[in-house]
């Protein structure tokens, strides 16, 4: 496919906070378009630099093809070019990945973050990413998240892919210890690949200090991540650190495997963004104690569930 015009995203230097969005559902379990639009509006309102849909937190693995298309189309439409919509790609093989990436591109995605193939062979992984990158014009990010995808990606392989595969420009790095792995990737050249953090923001400050471009992660209070990022970019590291530390008890609490999604849907529901807290089975549900425990942590960091709209997160 020969592109005749420059893709709108191709001139962007991608950076900042691109939250991984949960997919809202109706009580019947269908994709809830109105909630999705409210979520996009909310992310715009808090100053997010983009959004990432169809990630693990977006229950992409629990969506049908028709659901996937709807999530991407609605997000792109609502964003209306105000910020890029990145789209997750998760497939059993290259043909399926290419199909998903092409669809995302056609729907107007700013880029795709692509899970590695489930095979522990460096050349096969390289070829997989190369084949996807060749199929689309939009930029590609590696999604390095072995807890979910099992595949291990060495710093050497990551740097090599960043340098040798045109279009593969970023990595969403979620292989702990993430800051240490950042360092090992950067030893292969500071510009080999652009690094975004993840892991719920647990190491966001340290990642910024090591030179990350930003973060793609789920967190139900994106204004906090934006606050940290903007303070850091403005050169006020102390403020960035104080903001990060103040909200860390909540960042840590939300970032719990399996149950984290339920926390976030609960918060988005209470904040007036999601119509329901529906999670597709077999996702873990929240019980009464869990809701109380979450509420206590939220109060402890000075936020509240009863006030609509972005919260002030300034410190000091």
């Amino acid at each position: 496919m020969i592109p005749t015009t420059l893709h709108p995203s191709s001139t962007m230097s991608l950076h900042g906070v691109l939250p991984i969005l949960p997919t809202p559902f109706t009580h019947a379990g269908a994709v809830d378009e109105a909630s999705m639009r409210r979520l996009i509006d909310f992310e715009l309102e808090v100053g997010a630099h983009g959004v990432s849909v169809l990630g693990f937190m977006g229950e992409a693995h629990r969506l049908a093809g028709v659901d996937r298309r709807q999530v991407v189309a609605v997000s792109v439409d609502q964003a209306a070019g105000a910020f890029p919509v990145w789209v997750g790609v998760l497939a059993f093989g290259a043909a399926g990945a290419i199909e998903q990436a092409l669809e995302a591109e056609e729907l107007g995605a700013g880029g795709v973050f692509v899970a590695p193939p489930p095979i522990q062979n460096d050349q096969a992984i390289f070829d997989y990413y190369a084949s996807v990158a060749e199929a689309v014009e939009i930029p590609i990010a590696i999604h390095d998240f072995p807890e979910s995808f099992t595949t291990l990606l060495s710093p050497e392989l990551i740097a090599r892919m960043g340098r040798e595969i045109a279009g593969l420009r970023y990595i969403k790095l979620e292989d702990p210890p993430a800051p240490a792995k950042m360092g090992r990737i950067q030893q292969h050249g500071p510009d080999a690949i652009g690094i975004f953090g993840g892991l719920g923001g647990m190491y966001f400050l340290e990642e910024l200090q090591r030179g990350s471009l930003g973060i793609m992660t789920g967190f139900a209070w994106p204004e906090v991540l934006v606050g940290v990022y903007n303070a850091f970019r403005a050169g006020d590291v102390a403020k960035a650190a104080a903001t990060f530390d103040r909200f860390l008890p909540l960042i840590r609490y939300e970032f719990q495997p399996k149950i984290g999604l339920a926390y976030r849907k609960h918060v988005f529901h209470r904040r007036g963004i999601f119509a329901t807290t529906f999670i597709r089975p077999p996702g873990m549900q929240l019980d009464d104690y869990g809701r109380s425990e979450l509420a206590a942590v939220i109060r402890r960091v000075g936020l509240d569930l009863d006030t609509a709209g972005p919260h002030p997160v300034s410190v000091g």
Copy 2:
């Protein structure tokens, strides 16, 4: 005691040899419709009781959605109702599995064999199969193959699903030791679920003796499996055993992980059925030595690669 009479479950409608078909490709890597039609014709000619497409051996994990549709549609069209076409379903979650099962049903599949979800939780697995079974009218088989899918299914869970989920009627059993697991499933009632063997036919004779309904497996000489099955059904266990044992060196040789597909595509190519031996990456390729080694085993059991059409497999 090894039984010499037919198992009561053998009156269930689905039975016999339903080979897992490799997907033929052109030299460019596209699905090769003409070869697919020749393969269906060949399976009809050798007396197969049906075919199974989009299994692991069919490289289903390396196909795009459009490829999947083509394989099913062409197979059903060429079979023209002469035997059922079963279709593999492999998805990351229930919504995707239902989408695939519905599509197979709409295209005329005789049934679907469904990989378990990648989650080690009995109730979640039950719910997964129940949701797929509820969505379609055609019968469903569990695909119990932990080597590929990692999920472990206990005999208790399998029997419970067979009894409690309407439409879930069969299992393609590939969790070794398969004959022993058959026995443990049957302890929960002989009619809980209809059992088909797999694993390349390695335990086909013993599985028939334990009451299996037949086999769904890849083997490039389906006339051998049909010969064993027909002799057994005709009550001639000695002939079934002699046929099985005669060709066992080849059954064993073809049934090697990762490389088995290359053997089968090579044989189908040499037998005049497949136009190419193309395997989508990162599938393991055959080298010269491997081709010679395979040819030597084929000769040792009295078959040859240069004669077209079904081979005689009678013994004694």
Copy 3:
């Protein structure tokens, strides 16, 4: 073996902070007895309620049998009955686990925390723990840590083992989301089993609030965990929370997979307790940047690496 006297620990109601101790080595890589004794003294000084040796953080998997014996013997000797020494058991099967548990008992251990066998079968797991519990008089804790041991233990199985296996009295719970799993275990009866937290202390406050008996975890500033625990036990939840939150940036930072041990050895070395930072291969080493990054976090929470002895951790 018929015990003729009551074991000193058998009347203890185990509770509190029992840090998982790293194993100190000399520059040549041998167990460093002097450093081990200093570490025991330090834990006594900060008010720890016991210690846990030969855990994953103690590099138990990298020790020879002779090393294991030395670590236990030295720890018990230095503790001199002032607090219990719990000992980790990690084996490929029950015979090896019993051998290790008996040795720990003979050397004076207060109890053993036992990794599950590497088999995903509830009855086999039950039998494994029952056989170890039957072999010794000292109490036993399940070590529920699937990230390292891969075995998944359901809340039902854990509660059943706690009720039915005499001597199996505790669980060191490190299967996230840990607070949620605590809740699910407690649904089977509040007294089924005594629960200790782990996971670097990341959910220590919430675990205490849910009724945990304390914590067994690695952290190079045990005075912090003791401070949280003591405030909580004294009924001052606000102080416990404030202490926890203040030091959370460091708790989080130290609790990083693979590299966490290097942080802790570095801190114990700088605090004058360990003679070296030696880690047995293939343990991950700290680089200069990592040391700086760690130091920055330590300073941020108001601690310092240059002052010997326990640090004040009071807040508010």
Copy 4:
């Protein structure tokens, strides 16, 4: 082309059939020394070229240290220098592996076959084997068996270890497809490492033709493997093939995961070698049907369970 002459590496000292021995137990589950001595005598009588103890089939993972020592000491004593006793090493880390290897050496082992460390890092694996090899004088074999040990060893790494680590001279290759992997290892130089087959003998003939030195595997009729090997070494490939094919139905049947050990203990018991069929829990037990099924296969290949001593295996 399939070679009909001997491979150059066949002049290496170690070669032939070195059966992996099950560990016999008394009815109480203790190591049964008398049965062990009878088994060694039997292996000598059938012409085995050595034996391998403390492998997976030897339930090494279910033995205590004291059991391990007994098995090795008794085997070496009974062999009395007539053939080498190879000893399996399985540990969580290098210190434990060295301890086991040294003990084997002191007890008179001819060599040790060493499981890889549970870490997917080539340099760490190399260092692990190098540290064991440096600690002992006896030769070392890699035990490449990912089904049990999970670690994947590339052909490149294997060849590099064979060339660069003095003392590491052999590999027991059980990573299917084993013949194909042999070919890929040999591409790095025919003398990089001496290769022994395993996997129950399933590919023994093809492995010999590719230049394997012999086989280390469990099979309750070692006279069959010796017959195949001796015919092949005598240049009578046709006889080797005919012998292999005749007994293949039984080779295949015994080689079933989890249950294979029960078959072998049953056969050794019936052949008058083992006093019991005891398997340490949680090993899978044989039921009545399984015993009948096994007996039927044994009869089918012309062997019988009621005649003591080695059976004639000549064909043609």
